[in-house]
Symmetry: C2
């Protein structure tokens, strides 16, 4: 072994969901939106002057920051943007989670939290969800270096009521509390109003789900101007120009089209509710998802077997082999009505 190997930051990397190259696949494995992005995005591409790509983008990303601020009716000093909410969350971990006390998050949750903590050498404690997969607010009353959880939670899709979130925040006034709302637009209630009441709260959202721009990589955080400033300081020290020129324009067009956003999220919700009824009829058990996926346990077959059989039939869903408590479940993204009909038909005819 060479000496330089001692100085390497060795990590166990996150494994992203499969991105099959076969386009015949019904892709219900990475919680993408089944509908295209807002029509304005197409226009952006048609009208974009390619010659401008020779110039650096605006490092402050004012145009997109202002469009997000307008949409949520908040001041632009309360908005931070990044290359997907993963980038935003990684920056938050780097900026705010530098205590010697452990940060707290659920044991069953977005699988990146422990990856970031491990990579950044942040101590952490994973608090078990209750038997019905709920986050228990009182578990978060103990001394800690910060708190982060998704709402709705992943991969359960379960929503925590806003008063319980506020309870966690009230008991954690000495640390930063991050509410990761990647899926909140599909029927959840955002903690956004709490950023004005508590200066230690950060709400994180993404353009990858409800705004159908997973391929563009855009996420954002909303918090008090003081927190946004600290976050920008670290971001400018890491990579000043993260958002490229085309993405700034595309994401701005997407966020400006409120009607399309409301229409497509409503469609996803409607399809989800239909899928729930069908899955229930077929004996599946699942939490009452308020996200664009359903985390469901089949009745008479192992999740692993059903996962493989679906895949053989070109229907991709997601299976997590660990932790053990969830390996009987499959996470099924909500596709179009047609895709969900195909899935339900497969399950109706399925005998293992």
């Amino acid at each position: 072994m060479r000496d330089w190997e001692n100085n390497i930051r060795k990590v166990v990397p996150y494994t992203p969901g499969e991105q099959p190259k076969n386009t015949c696949v019904i892709k219900l494995n990475t919680n993408e939106n089944p509908y295209p992005p807002a029509p304005g995005v197409k226009e952006v591409l048609s009208n974009f002057n390619t010659d401008d790509l020779r110039l650096y983008p605006d490092p402050r990303v004012d145009k997109l920051v202002n469009a997000i601020a307008d949409f949520y009716k908040i001041d632009s000093s309360k908005v931070f943007v990044g290359v997907g909410s993963d980038d935003v969350l990684a920056m938050i971990f780097m900026t705010f989670f530098n205590s010697k006390k452990p940060i707290l998050f659920p044991d069953i949750t977005y699988s990146f939290y422990d990856v970031w903590a491990d990579m950044l050498r942040i101590p952490y404690e994973q608090l078990p969800l209750s038997d019905d997969f709920s986050i228990v607010p009182s578990d978060y009353y103990k001394a800690n270096g910060g708190v982060v959880f998704p709402n709705p939670n992943a991969p359960t899709g379960k929503l925590m009521p806003l008063d319980e979130i506020e309870d966690i925040i009230k008991h954690n006034q000495d640390v930063i509390v991050v509410v990761d709302e990647a899926y909140v637009d599909f029927g959840g209630e955002s903690a956004l109003p709490l950023i004005d009441k508590y200066d230690n709260v950060i709400v994180v959202q993404t353009f990858s789900k409800s705004r159908a721009l997973a391929g563009s990589r855009v996420g954002f955080a909303m918090a008090s101007p003081v927190l946004i400033k600290y976050l920008n300081d670290v971001k400018y020290s890491f990579n000043s120009y993260t958002m490229d020129r085309i993405t700034i324009e595309a994401a701005t067009a997407a966020v400006k089209d409120r009607a399309y956003f409301e229409e497509t999220t409503a469609k996803v919700i409607k399809t989800r509710e239909w899928t729930k009824k069908e899955l229930k009829r077929l004996g599946f058990t699942f939490c009452d998802s308020k996200s664009n996926f359903i985390f469901a346990k089949p009745a008479n077959v192992s999740a692993t077997k059903l996962f493989e059989d679906l895949k053989a039939d070109n229907i991709f869903v997601r299976h997590f082999s660990s932790p053990e408590r969830i390996n009987d479940y499959l996470r099924i993204s909500i596709g179009t009505d047609e895709q969900m009909h195909t899935l339900i038909k497969f399950l109706e005819n399925y005998s293992c």
Copy 2:
């Protein structure tokens, strides 16, 4: 002060060059390419199917990685891509610079190295350039936690011969040595062949200068497959999907057009050599730049005054107020022939 403030990573952020919104400006302040990106980039935008943006991009970025590997005639296992070379360098600092010994870099150099080291709490030592702004290889013989320098150096534009680079590498077999070649395509000689001879060497390049895609944010590293794997492990632990779908296509088109690349870099070099002659005639002193900028000291006026007077005339160049040794200099990016004629004409008529 609230308790959470103690846990914040406080940094002094890098200040990016001005991005004036006034388009009448002659912009010679951020080393952008005066020519547009390869024609294939325009085609990419015209033909891009916006609907695909709803899907996550390929986290491995195979298409672009393979195109870069083809261009440089190396195996794709030796290529890593990121969101600009700043992202690539930040990932390298995180992955490889984890020793308690200081990393070494020049005192006058790319102004981001100390920002990353400060932000990531990496100890460092800045080694003074010689009186003629040369990097002195023997300064880098001492024990250290890693070595990084640009070649050509920034903001001097001065090229270090390959045998001196190899000398530094030979004396640093126990650490990672990073050669940052942002400007190498404008007449420099790349250290790329050394990655096969030494498994501890990383060569970093960017699409922001010679490939005219500063607005797209693309950079890359080339090194032994072992180093690339460690780098990808950390990258996948930080942000799995950094490169967006449009940028992957645009950058692939750019790298595939070797003829356009050679033609436009040759034009920049020709304009640079003409500008050198003119600046010399006007009494400026400067290093023999092999980059797309000239770091020049005016004869009878302070750099600060000339900087302001140029700006008042809508000609933007870059002035660094620190370190003191360089505050008599201006960094002038190479624009089109027409832009450089305008600059020279201004200087001819200039009396302070």
